[in-house]
């Protein structure tokens, strides 16, 4: 491989990482909020797909992609609220409900999304950061950043600060680490978890809007293939830390961009293998991080996964 080809791949991977990582980042941040409260919502894959469909439909009908983002967030929040409300009932298993919500969300999205596969909806604009900082032309395309990417980073920094320094952050962490302790402090445990799951759903819905309105930027039934699920796994890898979620999301984005980047310089063999790269990477990361003592130290004590 020549130097220029290598540079092309690297630039494509950086650009790809920024583009591909945003949905991972949003879902992972949402799941971090939910898991910090002591529940796990595996249904975010369904939320992501339904969010993508709603965003595309809203953008197509109203002509405003930002309304689409809002609509996707609200639908995601509704699904999250349903999950959060149902899990407070005795004998209801949050992991199983997550699987059910995944199939329900995907089903609804495919059902209502059929008429929107053909038409083109207005897409989200991008911010040409590359032009502003005077980057070389080859880098400019890679640095066309979607505003949602920046919003995601801002949310991550805010959450990182808020978990540690605000009263709400303390309430959330207490609920997640020990429900009896939280009850003793007078915290309404079920209500906090309901809010946390709803917030997680909102962010996952926004992640879906990014998929359908920016990159890849269209609605079809194969739009999301496991990003929502991988993001849930990514939260474990990031050890429930919002800033590490961003880094992990970028890593996953780069892995996801590997296939298309190699294709851009003419390496097409093994395309399907590179498509599997993010899944394999997720699995390897889970193997590497799940059993470690350090991960176990950071896990919220109430999480059913850790018991």
């Amino acid at each position: 491989m020549t130097d220029s080809a290598l540079a092309t791949v690297l630039i494509a991977m950086i650009g790809g990482a920024i583009r591909v990582s945003t949905p991972f980042m949003f879902v992972a941040l949402g799941e971090t909020i939910t898991e910090k409260s002591g529940r796990i919502n595996l249904g975010l894959e369904g939320t992501l797909v339904l969010g993508a469909m709603v965003a595309y439909m809203t953008s197509y009908k109203t002509g405003s992609p930002w309304l689409g983002v809002l609509g996707a967030g609200c639908v995601g929040m509704a699904l999250g609220a349903l999950h959060g409300a149902v899990c407070r009932l005795p004998r209801v298993n949050d992991v199983a409900i997550g699987i059910a919500m995944m199939s329900f969300g995907v089903g609804l999205a495919f059902f209502f999304g059929k008429p929107y596969i053909q038409p083109t909806a207005p897409r989200l604009p991008s911010v040409p950061i590359g032009e502003w900082i005077g980057a070389p032309p080859a880098l400019r395309v890679a640095l066309d950043v979607n505003p949602l990417f920046l919003v995601g980073i801002a949310i991550a920094i805010f959450l990182w600060w808020a978990f540690k320094n605000t009263r709400w952050g303390l309430i959330l962490r207490t609920t997640g680490d020990s429900a009896p302790a939280a009850r003793a402090m007078g915290i309404p445990v079920d209500f906090v978890r309901f809010l946390a799951t709803s917030a997680g759903g909102f962010l996952a819905g926004v992640a879906g809007a990014f998929l359908s309105l920016y990159y890849p930027g269209s609605w079809n039934e194969g739009l999301s293939s496991g990003q929502g699920l991988m993001a849930v796994a990514l939260v474990i890898f990031a050890r429930w830390d919002p800033l590490k979620c961003v880094i992990a999301a970028l890593l996953f984005g780069a892995a996801g961009a590997l296939g298309p980047s190699l294709q851009s310089i003419g390496i097409t063999s093994g395309y399907y293998f590179f498509n599997a790269a993010p899944y394999i990477l997720t699995l390897l990361i889970m193997i590497a991080s799940a059993g470690s003592k350090r991960a176990m130290r950071d896990v919220p004590g109430e999480l059913s996964m850790s018991r």
């Binding site: 595996l42 349903l82 149902v86 009932l89 005795p90 004998r91 209801v92 298993n93 992991v95 199983a96 409900i97 699987i99 059910a100 919500m101 199939s103 329900f104 969300g105 995907v106 089903g107 609804l108 495919f110 059902f111 059929k114 293939s225 496991g226 699920l229 991988m230 849930v232 796994a233 474990i236 063999s269 093994g270 399907y272 293998f273 498509n275 599997a276 899944y279 394999i280 997720t282 699995l283 889970m286 193997i287 799940a290 059993g291 996964m305």
Partner: protein
């Protein structure tokens, strides 16, 4: 509880018989509860789906009558239903057996796809060389071994590294589909399959036949036999007992000296083998070659079937037939009512959610428990 108090006061024979009778009564009531609650969930979700249909302006009555006609109403549709029930029975077993040991293993789809592909792949060098009675067992063996290893891997990772088996098994599903696509679109592609990349067909002569007198392939019989065998294994053997204890309380099982790790891996491998049998029959009886049609979602519907059957292998059979019927009627409903094919997905998702919510109803009704106080645990 009641038994011990009476045994303390007067252990005489007549009272013991009365005790036994009321014990049986309670057991019957409990079993009735296990049927009544899922039925309630089915009826409720059916009603909710009717409301959903009415809201989008489609007559619910038409939907359900078409569902009956397309799934069960005629001999043809019934056979179509049973044909689809076969992989559902097997993939539901792939969910139910690990569930008995406390794992939520949802990798049935991946194991089905990869083992089906393996069956088609090992057949390639043997087509035209080996006779049918050699070819089919080799394919079946390959499918079962690959399926068992695939889900067994998720079980092993769970035990050895504490990797969440729900996430890892679903990731393995995506990886399995990618592996199949990699070979089907590359090295093992039949150049003749232009629109839908496939492996070379195993040939009509090598296809497994149907159960005499029907159009239903032998996968249904294999599924029913496996259900009965696994029910026996899980409820009447030391292995099953140990597995159920581990599912109830892993720490207690460890303290008892049970080989928890081996049990977890064994249950996962049984699950994978069941999905592998499903994959084998999809190739040897339906498609004849490996392509994207293998990933038809049977593995995912199987999860729902297992939950509705409360992970009981015998109960899986009727539930799988019901969902086979829903799948079989999908095409008819799509054509007649102009509904998208995803309406079946919506109905299934709705049933799934309502079913899991109704888990909370267990032990809330006095008629099922006989006595109120012991019921809520």
């Amino acid at each position: 509880m009641q038994k011990s108090t009476t045994a303390d006061t007067s252990p005489s024979a007549p009272i013991e018989t009365v005790e036994f009778a009321s014990d049986l009564g309670i057991r019957l009531r409990r079993s009735a509860e296990y049927v009544a609650v899922p039925l309630f969930a089915l009826v409720t979700s059916g009603a909710l789906f009717a409301v959903f249909l009415a809201l989008i302006g489609k007559p619910p009555a038409d939907f359900y009558s078409l569902l009956w006609r397309g799934g069960f109403g005629t001999a043809f549709s019934l056979q179509n239903t049973l044909q689809r029930a076969a992989p559902l029975i097997l993939t539901a077993l792939a969910m139910a057996i690990p569930a008995r040991i406390g794992l939520i293993m949802i990798g049935g789809e991946g194991a089905l796809v990869l083992s089906g592909f393996s069956a088609a792949a090992v057949a390639l060098p043997l087509i035209g060389v080996a006779p049918k009675f050699v070819l089919l067992p080799v394919m079946a063996a390959a499918a079962i071994v690959v399926g068992a290893l695939w889900v067994g891997l998720a079980g092993y990772l769970r035990h050895a590294r504490g990797v969440n088996e729900t996430i890892s098994s679903l990731l393995l599903t995506y990886i399995a589909i990618a592996i199949m696509n990699f070979f089907v679109e590359g090295a093992l592609r039949d150049p003749g399959s232009a629109n839908k990349p496939s492996t070379f067909p195993i040939g009509d002569a090598n296809m497994i036949g149907t159960i005499p007198g029907t159009d239903v392939h032998w996968g249904l019989a294999a599924g029913i036999v496996l259900c009965i065998a696994l029910h026996f294994l899980m409820s009447r053997t030391t292995f099953g007992f140990a597995a159920r204890i581990t599912g109830g309380n892993p720490r207690a099982a460890l303290a008892q000296g049970l080989p928890v790790g081996k049990l977890i891996v064994a249950c996962s491998m049984i699950a994978g083998a069941c999905a592998g049998v499903a994959g084998f029959f999809e190739i040897a009886a339906i498609h004849g070659r490996a392509n994207a049609s293998l990933a038809a979602g049977y593995g995912f519907t199987g999860i729902l079937v297992a939950f509705l059957a409360r992970h009981n292998p015998i109960a899986i059979i009727p539930v799988a037939i019901m969902f086979g019927g829903i799948a079989a009627a999908g095409g008819l409903i799509q054509r007649r009512m102009g509904l998208p094919d995803a309406s079946v997905l919506v109905l299934q998702g709705l049933i799934f959610v309502v079913l899991l919510i109704s888990e909370t109803l267990y032990g809330r009704f006095a008629i099922f428990s006989g006595e109120r106080s012991t019921s809520r645990t």
